[in-house]
C-alpha cells in the first residue's frame, strides 16, 4: 500500500470545455461537471487526468503490475492510509455499476446478470486533479506524488488557446432496443400484477437502445454538455471506452460526517408560457401518483441511510421540492443523517443500488427487474463520484447516460412503475426522457422511438 503526497497550486485562468474534453480523451481522464447555468458556490467541476492506480472488480493495477484484490476493502485501506481532514479534493474517482448489486447482497438472491463491456466497478487515483468552482476562474491544481515511477503528462495544452471542435452533421444509426414497444408495455403490466399480488410497491423498468455512430466521443460529450442543465455530469474514458452522463440526480453526498441523499421522482416538460408552467408545477406538487412514488423512495432511502447513521439522526429536510432545469421541472426530496461509519464498504453495502432506480422493497424489485429486463445494466443506474482525502464524497445516479465503445453507442431509458402507471404513457415517457440524447447523437428516425418527440 502507498502513501501518496500532494502538491497544490492555485491559479487564475480560463479553461475551455473543448480543451478539457480533449485532455480527458488524451490522458484517460475523467471530468465531473455541472453546467454553467447553475450558480457558483455549491458546485464545482473536477478533472482527473493520468490514472496511476486503477481498481476494478477483482484487481488493483499500477506501473504494469496487477494484484488481485477485494475492491471495497482496498479502497478503504487506501483511504485509511491517506486520509487528511485538511485536504478537500479527490483521492479516488470512479463508479459502481448497477450490476454491483450482486456483490453487496447475500449470494443466491440475484441471477448475477452483467454487462460485459464496462467493468462492474472502476476507481482510479489520478496524477492530476483540477478543481474549478462553477463560473469561476479560481482554479486549484493538485498533483499527486506516488512512491513508484510512472508515466508523466504535460498539462500545458489544457490552459492554452481554445481547441476547436467542429461539429459536422453526422448521424447515428439505430440498431436495437432490448425490449420492443410491445414487450415494454407487457412488462409494465407484469410489474402492476406483481404489485397487486403484494410482491412490491414500485419497480423501475428500463430498456437499452443501441446504435452505431459517426460522431467521436468528444463530439458527443460536447453536444450533450450543451443539450440541457446538467448538475451531475460525467465524461470519462476507461480502458478505451467512454461514459458520458447528463445526470440530474445526486445519489448521496457526505460532508463533515453528514450524509445527504436527494431522490428525484416526477418530471414535467417546460413550456414557453409561464402561466402554463405555473399550472404544471402546481399539478406536479399535488399529483397523487408522483407524491406517492416520491414518498416510497423517501422511506426507502431513510431506511438505507438508517443502516449507517446514528439513532434518530435521519431526517427528511425537503419534501417535496421543485428542481428547475432548462427544459424540465423535477420533483425531489432531501434526506439527511449523521454517519456512524466512514467505511466506504459499509456505505456501499447500505445504499447500493439506489432506491430511486430499483424499486421497493428493493431486493424483490431487483429480482423482478432481472426477470423482465433479461440483461445486466452495466454502469447505467449505478453511481459515479469522488472520494476526497478528507473522506467527503459525492456520487450521482448514472441515468441519462451514454456509453461509447468503438463507434457503438448504447443508452438506457426507463421509469418508475407503480399501480397508478399507464403502460403506454410509461413507454412514451422513456422516449421523452431520452430526447436530448436522441437529438445530440442525431439518431436516425425510427417510428417507435420518435413519434412522440414531435412538438
Amino acid at each position: 500500500m502507498w502513501e501518496i503526497n500532494t502538491e497544490i497550486k492555485q491559479i487564475n485562468t480560463k479553461i475551455y470545455l473543448e480543451n478539457i474534453l480533449t485532455a480527458v480523451d488524451k490522458y484517460n481522464g475523467v471530468f465531473l461537471f455541472t453546467t454553467d447555468d447553475f450558480e457558483s458556490g455549491n458546485h464545482k467541476n473536477i478533472i482527473g487526468l493520468n490514472p496511476i492506480i486503477n481498481i476494478n472488480n477483482s484487481a488493483i493495477s499500477y506501473s504494469n503490475k496487477s494484484l488481485s484484490a477485494n475492491p471495497l476493502q482496498i479502497i478503504d485501506d487506501i483511504i485509511n492510509l491517506n486520509k487528511d481532514d485538511k485536504l478537500n479534493f479527490p483521492l479516488l474517482i470512479g463508479y459502481l455499476s448497477y450490476d454491483y448489486k450482486n456483490e453487496v447482497e447475500e449470494k443466491g438472491l440475484y441471477k448475477n446478470l452483467k454487462s460485459d463491456i464496462f467493468p462492474d466497478l472502476y476507481f482510479s487515483i489520478y496524477e492530476y486533479y483540477i478543481i474549478i468552482p462553477n463560473n469561476s476562474e479560481n482554479i486549484k491544481i493538485v498533483q499527486l506524488h506516488f512512491p513508484f515511477s510512472h508515466k508523466k503528462i504535460d498539462l500545458n495544452p489544457l490552459f492554452k488557446t481554445k481547441i476547436k471542435i467542429n461539429i459536422q452533421n453526422k448521424v447515428t444509426s439505430y440498431i436495437s432496443s432490448s425490449l420492443s414497444k410491445n414487450e415494454f408495455i407487457k412488462n409494465v403490466n407484469q410489474i402492476k400484477n406483481y404489485i397487486k399480488k403484494g410482491d412490491i410497491y414500485q419497480a423501475n423498468l428500463t430498456r437499452e437502445i443501441t446504435g452505431k455512430t459517426e460522431y467521436s466521443p468528444i463530439e458527443i460529450a460536447y453536444k450533450l454538455y450543451h443539450s440541457n442543465s446538467i448538475e451531475f455530469g460525467v465524461f470519462a474514458k476507461i480502458e478505451n471506452k467512454y461514459l458520458i452522463s447528463t445526470s440530474p440526480e445526486r445519489f448521496f453526498k457526505i460532508s463533515n460526517n453528514k450524509i445527504t441523499t436527494s431522490p428525484i421522482k416526477g418530471t414535467i416538460f417546460k413550456s414557453k408560457n409561464d402561466d402554463v408552467n405555473k399550472k404544471n408545477i402546481n399539478e406536479l406538487l399535488n399529483s397523487k401518483k408522483e407524491l406517492a412514488e416520491l414518498s416510497m423512495i423517501v422511506d426507502l432511502l431513510r431506511n438505507d441511510i438508517n443502516k449507517i447513521c446514528t439513532t434518530n439522526s435521519v431526517n427528511v429536510i425537503k419534501f417535496p421540492e421543485i428542481k428547475e432545469l432548462i427544459n424540465v421541472y423535477h420533483l425531489y426530496s432531501d434526506i439527511e443523517g449523521q454517519l456512524s461509519t466512514k467505511k466506504f464498504k459499509d456505505i456501499v453495502k447500505a445504499l447500493f443500488p439506489g432506491g430511486s432506480i430499483s424499486g421497493c422493497p428493493k431486493i424483490r424489485a431487483c429480482q423482478i427487474i432481472e426477470e423482465l429486463e433479461k440483461q445486466g445494466r452495466g454502469p447505467y443506474t449505478g453511481s459515479y463520484g469522488y472520494i476526497n482525502f478528507n473522506q467527503d464524497m459525492d456520487f450521482n445516479i448514472l441515468i441519462r447516460t451514454l456509453f461509447y465503445h468503438n463507434k457503438n453507442i448504447s443508452f438506457n431509458v426507463g421509469g418508475g412503475i407503480t399501480l397508478l402507471s399507464n403502460a403506454v404513457d410509461e413507454y412514451e415517457e422513456t422516449i421523452f426522457k431520452a430526447k436530448n440524447i436522441y437529438s445530440a447523437i442525431n439518431m436516425e428516425q425510427i417510428y417507435d422511438e420518435t413519434y412522440c418527440l414531435k412538438d
Partner: protein, 199 residues
C-alpha cells in the same frame, strides 16, 4: 430507566426494516437489538424477549421460518409480538382469517386511522394520519370468528388497520408506524412496550 430487554427484529427482506429499528430504538434506547432475516436459523437460538415482525414483499405464508418460530417459541413462551404490514397479515393468516386483495391498494399514501382510544392507541387523537404500503388486507368480516379483534380501521373504508390477539400479547399494524408520513409512530410503539413488555 428501562430494564434491558432483548428485541428480535424479524426481517422479511424488507426495505423499511431499518426505519422500524430506528423508531423502536429511539423509543427504547437501552434495549438490545438483533436483526435477523426470515430464513436465518439463528432465530431459534437467539434468546429474546420481544418479537418485531417487519413488513415485506409477497404473502404472509412466504415469511420463511416465522410460522415455525410461532409454533415452537412465540406461543408456548407467550412472547410479546408486534407485526407490521406483512407482520399483521401473518397474524391474520396464522389465526385463519382470510387475507384478500385490498379494497383499494395504496402505496406511499397517508390515510386517516379510526380507533377506539384504547390499547396501543391510548392518548392518540382519532383520525390521525398513517402511511399505507399494501395491496393485500385482512378480510374484516371474518375476524370476529377468530381469536383476533380489531383495534383500528381506515376512515371511510372498512379495512383493518390494527388488530390484537384476544388473550395473547400479539399486536398487528397494517399501516407503517416507521414511515415519515405517519403521525404518533413513537407513541404507538411506546404504548405497545408499556402494555405488553411492562416498561
Amino acid at each position: 430507566m428501562n430494564a434491558n430487554k432483548k428485541i428480535l427484529i424479524f426481517d422479511n427482506y424488507d426495505s423499511f426494516t431499518y426505519n422500524l429499528y430506528n423508531l423502536i430504538k429511539s423509543v427504547r434506547p437501552n434495549y438490545t437489538y438483533q436483526i435477523l432475516r426470515n430464513n436465518n436459523k439463528q432465530i431459534f437460538i437467539y434468546d429474546f424477549d420481544v418479537l418485531i415482525i417487519s413488513p415485506g414483499p409477497m404473502t404472509p405464508d412466504k415469511t420463511g421460518l416465522l410460522k415455525d418460530l410461532f409454533i415452537k417459541k412465540i406461543i408456548p413462551d407467550k412472547i410479546p409480538t408486534l407485526g407490521i404490514c406483512l407482520g399483521l397479515q401473518f397474524l391474520g393468516y396464522f389465526y385463519n382469517t382470510l387475507v384478500t386483495k385490498s379494497k383499494q391498494a395504496k402505496h406511499g399514501i397517508a390515510v386517516n386511522i379510526n380507533h377506539f382510544n384504547k390499547n396501543i392507541f391510548d392518548k392518540i387523537p382519532n383520525n390521525f394520519k398513517a402511511a399505507r404500503y399494501n395491496s393485500l388486507e385482512i378480510d374484516i368480516n371474518n375476524i370476529n370468528k377468530t381469536e383476533l379483534e380489531i383495534l383500528a380501521t381506515e376512515q371511510n373504508q372498512n379495512s383493518v388497520m390494527a388488530l390484537k390477539h384476544k388473550t395473547l400479547p400479539f399486536v398487528g399494524l397494517q399501516f407503517h408506524p416507521e414511515s415519515f408520513l405517519t403521525q404518533y409512530g413513537d407513541i404507538i410503539i411506546n404504548n405497545f412496550f408499556k402494555i405488553y413488555v411492562g416498561n
